[in-house]
Symmetry: C2
């Protein structure tokens, strides 16, 4: 192991108690960006993050958006050093179903070295090792090896609605050579990997209405068209029998990877690991592609939520007046979020039966997919840091999730992008019992520190 | 108007304050039979009803069931008089969505002569005029013109699960000549009508599970099969393009009405009234039948509720581990609830895609459909009472709803059945803002009183 790595590990160990306690404090904020009732918690969290960075000796700002604020921070910029923009987010997903959490999602609890809390991995854990690496490296060396710009968003889980609208006007402040998106991870615990691509996203809400009031299913069953039936039929029409999305034009704009690009990516998929970790079979998506291809290279339509009528104890034999669905599309390179969102919405509308009114809102702020070349210097630096720390060659993978703001950030900053982090498939992000390992908090700290050293030295 | 009618109207008017105040008291009980948390409210309501009947001078009992108790009451039985069994229920439907109620569902509120409360019509209003007619007729005349047996159930909205299991062993106590099911009404405000038939019902709960935890729709979309997609596809497969139920064998056992029987029934349907009352178009069901035929003579499958994943503010891009649906089938003569329930459940199970586990519970206590001849003496007595009071000829209609216990009660009592009441299509039973008119409380009182006089006199 290199001396740089050993020194960074010592730096972490010497400050471990402070780092870990600060992490727990960060996790206690209920910074759920998509639920209005938590607006104050989100802002409190932004203030706390800004305070931390200010105390670390950085110049800090909060950028107001029409939603939640963005925290921005930088050290004194030196024109002889390369500039590194790092992206994290301090907001988290909602917590329901709350009853499935083994401990309070906002009271971080350690079991077997893993910290359980909403946001433990996505993205507070990954944000926290970045912030601490910068603070302690600066403290240790008196200055940082690069110009640092930190952009810590408060609406990643809300499709980055606010930041998207202001990012182009902040282009000058965001100008950088390298852009690190620290919200990713590996697909296998012992195999370090840098992520070359993420999917884009388009989201929409569909409401169906049949009557002005809930109807008795005895007195009206056979007369009125049940919105739950319409919802089932309309959503089912989105898929053909081979799992392809049946919306005409859905696949038209896809830019396929070249054979050369595909060859560098590790598409292996461990079905047994998948089954034991998630209790699921890989039976979704298009039958003619492998599971990793379906998740990384193919777009999807997913029904994230449906709700209509009575589903409590016993029975309420009702034909509901209204039913609702939340739908998201994951997109691959070439696909435009607005175009795909409208395409799917128009298709669904065309399937509404007589007597049912379909109201579909395609939400702003979707993101396009991003793919980076493995030969990019910042990708190379990240791969080297992982390899040095793990003693194993770093691989290249992709990710099916989305970070809608990445394309916009890359454009505004003019930087080359690398997607990385210490997430693992079993972390249960977006689900009950999300967790992140304390060992990974340290590894992330060391890896970020080493990447900054490598980029600063021009190695 | 006959003297008998005028005398009954006066009897009501002389006691109107007491009757109305008692009605409000009855409505304040949260006797929701399908939700466990209201078990005590249901029992309190049963005790209150029994107390009222005991004070009216009847012999009363409560019959325990495995669910909520049944209140039974009778006057001193005279072998020279005919015996009339009257059925009502004191339990009510759940109240959600609560936010759509204009006033508290358990604080009866009068607007334009209509009492708004859960159960105002179904069935507390209809029960209340029966109880008061019996009490005051007995008080006025010293005795009743018939032997009365009152059966007031606490689980009608829960498919009469408890009563169904004990009704045959209570056959001796229930023995009667005439059975009045006072839980129905008219289809047009100014057209009195007696109901010749109701549909049966079979209910089931379907749970689909894809994974052991909720999954991120980015990292898993395209890999795992989304239970919301499976739910949509499976439920959509229940219907063909003409609105027929696509389950093989579903229509096999239907006993059609004869042309002669059909000719006596008023199948008229006012589309404009329907639209203005319910805000709905009559576009559901089988396209080759008229709306009233679809509701009265044809069986249906309705999806009463679906819930899976996130449908709150904003977005949570999840593939839920589990999704649930509540389904009910309305049945017509010839169809057996258990057979149809199993048929639909087996069909749905056969449609579950690989990777999705379907768990379907067909609930006990479904009821068969009932049809009575218009020539039955008790039907004739009811029609005459309506005609006398309204000064308009009473018509014969049917009803799409179900009162599962009716077949069992008819069998156990050996009585001839009539289905009647003062419900109207706009009463919003099973929906927010359910209501019942104070004018109908009086009309119901008079009608029941007159029917008992007619049956007692042998007219």
């Amino acid at each position: 192991m290199s001396e740089n790595i050993l020194a960074l590990q010592k730096l972490y160990d010497d400050n471990a108690d402070n780092i870990v306690n600060g992490f727990y404090e960060f996790l206690r904020f209920k910074s759920i960006s998509t639920e209005k009732e938590f607006a104050k918690d989100v802002r409190d969290c932004a203030n706390w993050v800004e305070q931390f960075l200010s105390e670390a000796g950085l110049h800090t700002e909060q950028w107001e958006t029409r939603g939640h604020p963005v925290v921005f921070a930088q050290n004194e910029q030196d024109t002889n050093k390369p500039t590194v923009l790092i992206y994290n987010h301090y907001d988290v997903q909602p917590v329901d179903p709350l009853e499935l959490w083994k401990s309070d999602p906002f009271v971080p609890t350690v079991r077997d070295g893993e910290v359980y809390a909403r946001g433990a991995q996505d993205n507070k854990g990954q944000c926290w090792y970045v912030l601490n690496a910068i603070k302690l490296l600066k403290q240790r060396d008196g200055s940082l090896p690069v110009n640092i710009k930190l952009l810590i968003e408060g609406e990643e889980e809300a499709a980055s609605d606010g930041l998207t609208r202001i990012v182009s006007e902040r282009a000058k402040q965001l100008a950088a050579d390298h852009l690190l998106i620290v919200d990713l991870g590996f697909h296998h615990k012992l195999q370090p990997a840098v992520t070359l691509g993420i999917r884009g996203i388009a989201v929409m809400t569909m409401k169906l209405r049949g009557s002005s009031v809930d109807l008795h299913s005895g007195g009206h069953g056979g007369i009125a068209y049940n919105p739950n039936r319409a919802m089932s039929e309309m959503l089912a029409s989105l898929y053909d029998k081979d799992g392809k999305v049946a919306v005409p034009g859905f696949y038209d704009d896809i830019k396929e990877l070249s054979e050369q690009e595909r060859a560098k990516i590790d598409f292996s998929f461990d079905k047994d690991f998948y089954k034991s970790t998630f209790g699921a079979e890989p039976t979704g998506g298009e039958s003619k592609y492998s599971p990793a291809e379906r998740c990384w290279l193919r777009p999807t339509v997913e029904i994230n939520g449906i709700r209509g009528g009575y589903t409590g104890d016993g029975f309420k034999t009702v034909i509901p007046a209204e039913t609702i669905a939340k739908i998201s599309c994951r997109l691959v390179p070439g696909q435009n979020p607005k175009k795909i969102g409208d395409l799917v919405a128009d298709f669904l509308k065309s399937k509404a039966p007589a007597g049912i009114t379909a109201d579909i809102e395609v939400h702003q702020g979707g993101g396009t997919a991003v793919v980076t070349s493995p030969d990019t210097p910042v990708v190379q630096a990240a791969a080297q840091a992982y390899t040095e720390l793990a003693g194993t060659e770093c691989k290249f993978i992709m990710e099916g999730g989305s970070i809608p703001i990445v394309t916009e950030l890359a454009k505004a900053s003019g930087a080359e992008v690398v997607l990385l982090g210490y997430g693992l498939p079993g972390d249960l992000v977006h689900a009950p019992n999300e967790h992140f390992g304390l060992d990974r908090l340290k590894k992330g700290f060391v890896t970020i520190g080493r990447i900054l050293e490598l980029l600063g030295s021009g190695d």
